[in-house]
C-alpha cells in the first residue's frame, strides 16, 4: 500500500479500527444518509495520512467517519455534527 498517502479506501481502516472494535470492520455495511448509496466499509474513500483518516462516501463525498490518533487516544467521529467518541488504547 501507499507510503506517501493520497487516497486509499476502507480496506486500510481494518488495522486502525481493530484497536477499538471487536469485529472485523471492512465488511460492515454502510448507508450514506446524504445520497442513499450503500456498500461495505471497504469501499469508502479514505484520505490521510495517519494519524488522521477521513472516510467519505464514494458517491457524494459525505463524511462517513473520521479516525484520529492522539497519543494514547483514538478519536472517532461518526458522520458529521454528531460529536466524537474518544477511546483509550493500551500502549
Amino acid at each position: 500500500m501507499a507510503d506517501a498517502t493520497t487516497q486509499l479506501d476502507g480496506n486500510c481502516l481494518a488495522g486502525p479500527l481493530s484497536e477499538i472494535l471487536s469485529v472485523e470492520p471492512t465488511t460492515a455495511w454502510w448507508r450514506c444518509p446524504e445520497c442513499a448509496r450503500s456498500g461495505p466499509l471497504a469501499e469508502l474513500h479514505v484520505y490521510g495520512p495517519e494519524p488522521g483518516l477521513t472516510a467519505r462516501c464514494p458517491g457524494c463525498a459525505h463524511i462517513a467517519l473520521r479516525l484520529v490518533r492522539e497519543g494514547e487516544h483514538i478519536w472517532l467521529t461518526m458522520g458529521g455534527g454528531t460529536g466524537a467518541f474518544r477511546f483509550a488504547t493500551s500502549p
Binding site: 507510503d3 486509499l8 480496506n11
Partner: protein, 236 residues
C-alpha cells in the same frame, strides 16, 4: 481489545524488480490468513517515533511464515527502508491479518477475474497461489498492467503452465519484442476478452493505484458489469 502487535523477524529478502522486494518474515504464533489480506507494519525509531504502513500478503498461509510485497516509494519514509535497509535477522512489529473484504476463499468455484496495476499484483498473487494450493476448479484470469517487462513481479508464480490460470500482461510504456498488443493503458477491449469468460456473478478483484482502480471500475461498470461483483483495493 484489538489485534495485538507481534514481533516478526526478517528471514529473507527477494528482489522482484529494481525497486520491489518480497520480504519473508517469521511471525511467531501467526494465526493464518486468507489470500488478499494485509498486515500493518510498525517501525519504531530510537527516539520513540513510530510509523505504520500497510502491506499486502503475497503468499497463502504457511505456518509462521509470511511474505510481504513492498514497492520502494521515491522519497518514502518507510518503504525504502524495508526494501533495502532493514537487515536480515532484524525485527519489526506486524499486526494482522487484516481485512475480510478483499479476499478470495478456496470454496469459491466460479471463474474469477483479477486485475492488477503495478504493485497491486501482490494480494492477487496470494490468491493465485492459494488457488493452486487448494487445487480449485474455477479458472482464474489475471490481467496485469505494468510499465515494461522489467516491472513484472512474481514471474515464476504467474507463468508456470497451470491450465486453470490465464495470465495476460499488459504493458503501458514498453512491450517486449513481438507483442501483438501495442503499449498502452488498459482498455475496454482488454477487459471484454477477459469478462467474456466470466459468469454474471463471478467476482472481479481490482487492485492498484487509485487512478488505475477507478479507471478499471468505470470500464467494467460501463460494460454492464454488476457493481456488487467488483471488489477493489486502492494503493493510493
Amino acid at each position: 481489545m484489538g489485534i495485538a502487535w507481534r514481533r516478526a523477524r526478517l528471514l529473507e529478502r527477494r528482489s522482484q524488480t529494481a525497486t520491489a522486494r518480497t520480504l519473508v518474515l517469521t511471525a511467531p504464533d501467526w494465526p493464518g490468513h486468507l489470500p488478499g489480506q494485509h498486515v500493518d507494519v510498525r517501525l519504531t525509531a530510537d527516539d520513540g517515533y513510530q510509523a505504520v504502513r500497510s502491506y499486502s500478503l503475497a503468499a497463502p498461509a504457511d505456518g509462521d511464515r509470511i511474505e510481504l510485497g513492498v514497492q520502494a516509494v521515491d522519497g518514502g519514509e518507510v518503504s525504502p527502508y524495508l526494501t533495502d535497509g532493514l537487515p536480515v535477522g532484524a525485527e519489526v512489529e506486524v499486526r494482522g491479518p487484516l481485512g475480510n473484504w478483499f479476499v478470495w476463499r478456496a470454496e469459491q468455484t466460479e471463474p474469477a477475474l483479477l486485475v492488477a496495476g503495478g504493485s497491486g499484483v501482490v494480494p492477487l498473487t496470494a490468491m493465485v497461489r492459494a488457488h493452486r494450493a487448494a487445487r480449485s476448479r474455477g479458472p482464474l484470469h489475471l490481467l496485469y498492467s505494468v510499465r515494461s517487462p522489467e516491472d513484472v513481479w512474481y514471474r515464476d508464480h504467474l507463468a508456470d503452465g497451470d491450465p486453470l490460470l490465464d495470465v495476460r500482461i499488459m504493458y503501458t510504456r514498453q512491450a517486449p519484442p513481438g507483442s501483438v498488443r501495442p503499449p498502452g493503458r488498459i482498455t475496454t477491449a482488454d477487459l471484454d476478452e477477459a469478462t467474456a469468460r466470466l459468469k454474471p456473478a463471478s467476482p472481479v478483484y481490482v487492485c492498484g493505484p487509485t487512478g488505475f482502480v477507478e479507471a478499471v471500475d468505470n470500464l467494467l461498470i460501463d460494460r454492464g458489469r454488476d457493481p456488487v461483483t467488483i471488489r477493489t483495493e486502492r494503493f493510493g
